[in-house]
Amino acid sequence: MVEGETMEDREILDLYFARNEDAIRETDQKYGHYCFSVAWNILFDREDSQECVNDTWNRTWQLIPPQRPNRLQYFLAKITRGFALNCLRTRTREKRGGGEYEAALSELEAVLASGDDPAKTLAAKDLAETVNRFLKKLKDRDRNVFVRRYFYLESAAKIAKRYELSESNVNVILNRVRTQLKEYLQKEGYL
């Protein structure tokens, strides 16, 4: 293989299964920038983001095998996102801010304000399944905008540029989807 070329995911996964540490190097080369941007959108801190990416490589090394993800990219994104959210929680509230996490949280809180009673909420896994069912009902464009905002925590401006929409259009879509989410959660007994 020519140096600088990226491997196919299948080949990278084979390296993990062979317990070959090149797997991490290849993963970093192919998905390092992507995972860093996932962490960066949440943390807005270069050092912490890089630490999350490094933690992601370690965790991936532990998980594969036995796991063999269908889509390595999103498998890594979810691990990075999990580390970044944990990292954020360990910071003090004063140190937060700047990142899109707080803004995204505030947007959801504004709609789901009455959903703070733990007795009304179900297990995290159930909630995840409910959210997936909700996303399935959405139109493709609305779902994509929602995913870019609340999974990747991208700003409305960035989403607007990605999908060639106006920023106000993105905000209208997000507002509409949040309202739909609230209604769906009410129907499912979360609110």
């Binding site: 140096e3 600088g4 998905y31 920038h33 809180e109 609340y150 999974f151």
Partner: protein, 158 residues
């Protein structure tokens, strides 16, 4: 933990297909790039045709009264047309081959970053499924944009 926080967390279990779909769509230019390329090609042919046809008709009319002069005019027309074609030839589709300073190739993510930079700069760029970066426009302008990425590059005309 508040429900809003739980929802943000629960998105970690989102279906991969939704993440993939959110990556792939890049606005109408991306979605309709093939149709757009076809329309642009047709438009280019039509413009070229319309720009040549009136001149040919004028030359025919002139030839009735002054054949030698018309001959000179025809020569000038040919020269002018050739210049036009030459100008048009710098505006085309190019495959971009990028390299780092040390000569190594860029990772997929780095290519994607360059692609997004080009899109942000208003360039008509396309990143294909197999990672090939294609751009359409004037060669000089494309070179100016690519020089700003800091990578060395070569343009392969399509």
């Amino acid at each position: 933990m508040k429900l809003s926080e739980k929802i943000l967390e629960s998105l970690n279990d989102i279906d991969d297909a939704y993440l993939e779909k959110s990556e792939k769509e890049y606005g109408w230019v991306h979605r309709y790039r093939k149709q757009l390329a076809g329309v642009l090609s047709l438009a280019a042919v039509l413009i070229l045709y319309l720009s040549v046809m009136p001149k040919a008709q004028n030359m025919d009319a002139g030839s009735y009264t002054a054949a030698p002069a018309a001959g000179n005019a025809k020569q000038e027309e040919r020269t002018f047309d050739a210049m036009e074609v030459q100008e048009a030839e710098t505006w085309a589709s190019y495959v971009i081959h990028l390299k780092k300073e040390d000569g190594s190739a860029l990772s997929e993510a780095e290519v994607k970053t360059v692609y997004e930079t080009l899109l942000n700069a208003g360039c008509d760029a396309v990143l294909t499924e197999n990672g090939t970066l294609i751009i359409r426009g004037d060669e000089t302008e494309i070179q100016t944009q690519l020089e700003q990425t800091g990578y060395s590059f070569e343009l392969e005309r399509q």
